[in-house]
């Protein structure tokens, strides 16, 4: 148990450290000139912090969602939160809205995400509580609707706007700076704390509502609290840097191979490993073809998927 804790803390720290030093050019932290110092502190550091935060949010909300929806295929984007955010951000990008300066697009994305999350909540609400199947199907339905609207908008917009919006949707961490981090930190850590405090209830929920009830939990209340935590984390993550695939869906499964399904361990471990993976992917995406940058989301899946498939073949998972 102790070594596991150690690994879970140690890996993200090492990845974070290397993401500061490595890149298109290696920076020696003990002999920096003015330029290198600036690059390290005001370009790389905020970018890596954002990657960590986004990865943490996605990993943790993936773990929580797979629990409350009792579905191994659930990921933070299945609720339509990301497509709502993407639609609203793309509208902003294509229409060239700038009412809040550099904050315009993140704020639009966050607004779109929160709006969609609440809408899914309203759809999933029946007889005094949230129902997993309703949430899931409501989310999928909204997701289709918003994606279609997004496609509609992109197909009638100029090629310029289209390319910019597509780059944003694919996940762009390059514009991360310190100013967005406090907001991200509040929502991501807030959501994570909330879900970790209710981790025991989540364990019970997975066994079924009746079982949870007999263990002394109120399923509807617990589900609502957990749903809110997922909504906050996912919205914050989308507004920090667009959509990053893979992490929310597969990182919790990868962690289950190592730690089992106890959510008290699974949620923080998925968060830290999600953060580490995104941070590493971002490092690769900006170092592999300098001076060009690739979308981090693409790299995440290219690094992550083979490893996941390897684990799936090697480990005896889910008793399957």
């Amino acid at each position: 148990m102790k070594t596991r804790f150690f690994i879970i803390i140690f890996v993200p720290l090492v990845v974070f450290g290397s993401s500061l030093v490595l890149g298109p050019k290696i920076i020696n932290p003990f002999g920096m000139d003015e330029t290198s110092r600036e690059i390290l502190f005001s370009i790389r550091a905020p970018r890596s912090v954002v990657a960590l935060l986004m990865g943490m949010a996605l990993g943790a909300s993936g773990a929580v969602l797979q629990g409350i929806l009792r579905n191994p295929l659930a990921d933070p984007y299945i609720l339509g939160i990301s497509s709502g955010a993407s639609l609203s951000a793309a509208i902003g990008i294509v229409a060239g809205l700038t009412f809040l300066g550099a904050f315009t697009i993140p704020v639009l994305a966050f607004g779109g995400a929160i709006f969609t999350g609440s809408l899914v909540g309203v759809i999933g609400w029946k007889r005094g509580g949230l129902w997993p199947e309703r949430l899931l199907l409501g989310g999928v339905g909204l997701s289709f609707l918003f994606s279609a609207l997004l496609m509609l908008m992109l197909s009638v917009s100029s090629d310029e706007g289209l390319r910019r919006a597509t780059l944003w949707i694919f996940g762009d961490l390059s514009m991360s700076d310190w100013s967005r981090i406090p907001y991200g930190l509040i929502f991501v850590l807030g959501g994570m704390l909330l879900s970790m405090v209710r981790a025991k209830a989540l364990n019970a929920l997975i066994l079924g509502d009746e079982m949870a009830h007999s263990l002394g939990f109120t399923p509807h209340t617990e589900r609502f609290v957990l749903f809110v935590s997922v909504g906050l984390m996912t919205s914050a993550s989308v507004s920090l840097g667009g959509m990053i695939g893979f992490i929310g869906l597969l990182v919790p499964h990868m962690i289950r191979f190592f730690t089992g399904s106890d959510n008290r361990m699974l949620i923080p471990a998925s968060a830290f490993m999600g953060g580490a993976l995104l941070c590493a992917a971002d490092l690769v995406s900006r170092s592999i073809m300098p001076p060009m940058e690739l979308p981090a989301g693409v790299v995440t899946a290219i690094i992550g998927s083979p490893y996941f498939l390897y684990l799936l073949r090697r480990k005896n998972v889910l008793g399957l």
Binding site: E38, S42, G96, T98, T104, V156, E160, D172, S174, P291
Partner: protein, 276 residues
């Protein structure tokens, strides 16, 4: 030079294979790219244009022409129903399959193959020959050639300035190698710091900009562009261009290969040589 010759030969060879025959003057022309619409108007063929794309916004008369869809997804039906004598397309902007489809339906096409700044005069001559307005095209191409030659011969700067053209600040997209802007910088004898990119309009690394420290930064002018750029310029505050107030918002003439492109080069030259 070798490269220029090669591309010229290529253009000449290819233009013989276009299916519009030299000499005939088509009465109904459809343009499938904004720069083609602009060139056609400049050649005095505006009144023969019967269809344009939804992006064709210059000159103003182009905006009232019937639209046949976007550049990458024009509507085949709309094109056919306008009964064109020839459909003018570009090699980069329009899908090749669309051209093949049109030809298989017996509709004549003309593919404009010039992509780089120095290919423009020849491209215009070739187009003019194909559309039966050879003299006008010669005149226009000659004007452009003269202007370009003027830039080439007008005293090169004693020391090459390091320059950068930002197309869009967030996500950061710049004019890289092979873009018209890159050609313009080369013509003016300046060093485009992003000329080692793999594509014409790459998503670029901010830390590389800081490291390469451009002396002058240009940003494509546009609605709200100054607000959107604020964040980026804040992060580039240690770069000489930003520190010395040499960040300029310029028009989008250099985004399309048209007779107006020369004005775009002129604009850059004005800022670079300090006569603004």
């Amino acid at each position: 030079m070798k490269k220029t010759l090669l591309s010229l030969t290529l253009i000449v060879c290819c233009s013989f294979s276009s299916s519009a025959h030299a000499g005939e003057t088509p009465q109904r022309i459809i343009s499938l790219a904004p720069n083609m619409t602009e060139i056609l108007f400049a050649l005095g063929l505006g009144n023969r244009i019967v269809g344009v794309t939804s992006f064709c916004d210059f000159p103003d008369e182009a905006k009232i022409k019937p639209e046949v869809g976007g550049m990458s997804n024009p509507s085949l039906e709309a094109v056919i129903s306008l009964k064109p004598d020839v459909v003018v397309m570009t090699i980069d902007g329009n899908p090749r399959e669309f051209e093949e489809r049109l030809r298989s339906l017996g509709i004549k096409t003309y593919v404009f193959r010039a992509r780089r700044l120095w290919e423009l005069p020849h491209g215009i001559r070739d187009l003019g020959t194909a559309l039966g307005v050879k003299e006008k095209a010669d005149l226009l191409a000659g004007e452009i050639e003269n202007m370009l030659a003027k830039f080439r011969t007008a005293g090169k700067p004693a020391q090459k300035k390091k320059v950068l053209f930002i197309i869009w600040p967030e996500p950061l997209i710049v004019a890289g190698r092979g873009s018209i802007t890159d050609d313009a910088f080369a013509l003016l004898g300046e060093k485009n710091i992003s000329d080692d990119s793999g594509t014409s309009y790459p998503k670029y690394s901010i830390e590389e900009i800081i490291r390469r420290a451009p002396d002058v930064i240009f940003i494509g002018r546009g609605k709200g562009m100054e607000e959107v750029s604020e964040g980026l310029l804040q992060r580039l505050k240690s770069v000489p261009a930003v520190k010395n107030g040499r960040v300029f918002y310029v028009s989008d003439y250099l985004y399309r290969l048209t007779p107006r492109t020369v004005k775009g080069v002129e604009e850059l030259a004005r800022y670079l040589r300090g006569q603004y």
